[in-house]
Symmetry: C2
Subunit: 114 residues, 2 copies
């Protein structure tokens, strides 16, 4: 029986990744740290809405920020992205193993019938 | 300027992955196809709520289903999981390249100062 254990950190990571604006921000931060105004510049969006996206990214641990004077700079926190990638890679491994087993089964069946 | 181009298929994939029940279902399907009752068995959840999760997984293309008689069987559609994994891998590649560049820069700086 699988009981609900409440929210897992990976829930918030995948939810954060489900928005194209937030993915564009992460793509930008993969290339290096950036200030809020650098990050906001390419988007046709009111600043408060944009800042909300940054807060979502920070609250799930995908980015970190620090403030020097009046300038807040964001950087990628790669470990959280890794959490999501690892889960996906694990499913692929299981899936590919299953396809291999199916292949072997079909080969054996073919040999038996020839 | 980045304009909103409406929902992308990967949006729905990441949103579907943000729920632990749906991830458990995908983990099960990575091992092979299963019927609705097989899939539902480990969960302490009303069937209509559980079926709703299956519908979300199917609508974003992460699973496919087929019905024989009264029994509906689900299987993983691995290509959609690959879409998410590819995006994450791409960010990691960019990030690691940046760390390498930073390493080279620091090494060069160190050499210059010795």
């Amino acid at each position: 029986m699988i009981l609900s254990h409440g929210a897992e950190p990976i829930d918030g990571v995948f939810r954060a990744l489900s928005d194209p604006t937030r993915r564009r921000v992460l793509e930008r931060l993969s290339r290096g740290p950036a200030t809020v105004s650098d990050l906001a510049a390419p988007f046709d969006m009111a600043l408060p809405s944009f800042v909300q996206h940054l807060k979502i990214l920070e609250s799930c641990g995908l980015v970190r920020s620090s403030k020097v004077g009046r300038v807040r700079t964001y950087q990628l926190a790669a470990a959280r992205l890794q959490l999501a990638e690892d889960w996906l890679a694990q499913q692929r491994t299981l899936w590919e193993r299953r396809l291999d087993q199916l292949d072997h089964y079909l080969m054996a069946l073919k040999e038996k019938n020839t």
